[in-house]
Subunit: 154 residues, 2 copies
């Protein structure tokens, strides 16, 4: 447990910039979709998966897998979204334990209202400041790091 090589100044600076950027980026995007359509980041992600799914519906487990969320998180969040009429839940005829989540008209309207601003902001804050080479390189690096994190835990 002892004698851990500490981070160098460069590493520490980079790490702090990274974590700070994450927090600011997420907060900015959250405020944006919240203001545009009353959607949180989590709401937005759920609705994106649903609009990409056949017939706007998906099994809870598949939703969890698509978002890389715990199932209990999906349960809680879908319950909250259901109260706001953004999605609806229905049992699955093929599997008595299963459940489908379906996007409602309200949900569809909300994401259509939120998406343009969201995309524009991501473009403005991130991609407008990066060259194509940098985008490719970052994609490769994030993929590389992600496989390490995944291997280490779950």
């Amino acid at each position: 447990m002892n004698d851990v090589p500490w981070l160098s100044d460069d590493e520490q600076r980079m790490w702090r910039q990274w974590m700070g950027l994450n927090a600011e980026l997420l907060a900015t995007l959250n405020r944006e979709t919240q203001a545009d359509a009353g959607l949180s980041n989590a709401d937005y992600q759920v609705l994106v998966v649903l609009t990409d799914s056949a017939e706007g519906r998906i099994r809870v487990s598949e939703l969890a897998a698509a978002l890389q969320w715990e199932r209990s998180r999906v349960s809680h969040h879908v319950a909250r979204m259901e109260k706001r009429d953004l999605v609806s839940r229905r049992g699955c005829p093929d599997d008595g334990r299963g459940a489908f989540v379906r996007i409602t008209e309200t949900g569809r309207a909300a994401i259509e209202r939120a998406a343009p601003g969201h995309v524009r902001t991501v473009r403005r804050l991130v991609f407008d400041a990066l060259s194509a080479d940098e985008v490719a390189q970052l994609g490769e690096i994030f993929h590389r790091l992600r496989s390490r994190v995944g291997r280490s835990t779950g």
Copy 2:
């Protein structure tokens, strides 16, 4: 609001890898300090700032500035940490409105228990997989992006 240029496939892949990596990295680090010393990421960050401060104490506003947190967040979090005896609060003699947050012996013990594992994990998951060039480049990119985000909101 219409005619927003959508993200290319490369951009979208990179963006998803990025956001996914962030979430997994934070969750992993959180579980680690939680298991090692019963500390959340937020606890850890607060204690790092406190140990770096003269006499292990700092004004609430300075703590907020150092962490880039809202002051109300600091208030809430310090209150929770105070209950667990990780920090203590004292009034500021020079400014009747002010308050100091001080690290306790318990808090110092906790971060000393958490730090080695935390640093080792950051090194293993991130820096061991990056060349020095990549670290420098990422530092520059994150800095560049962060200044855009900061300019756009606050």
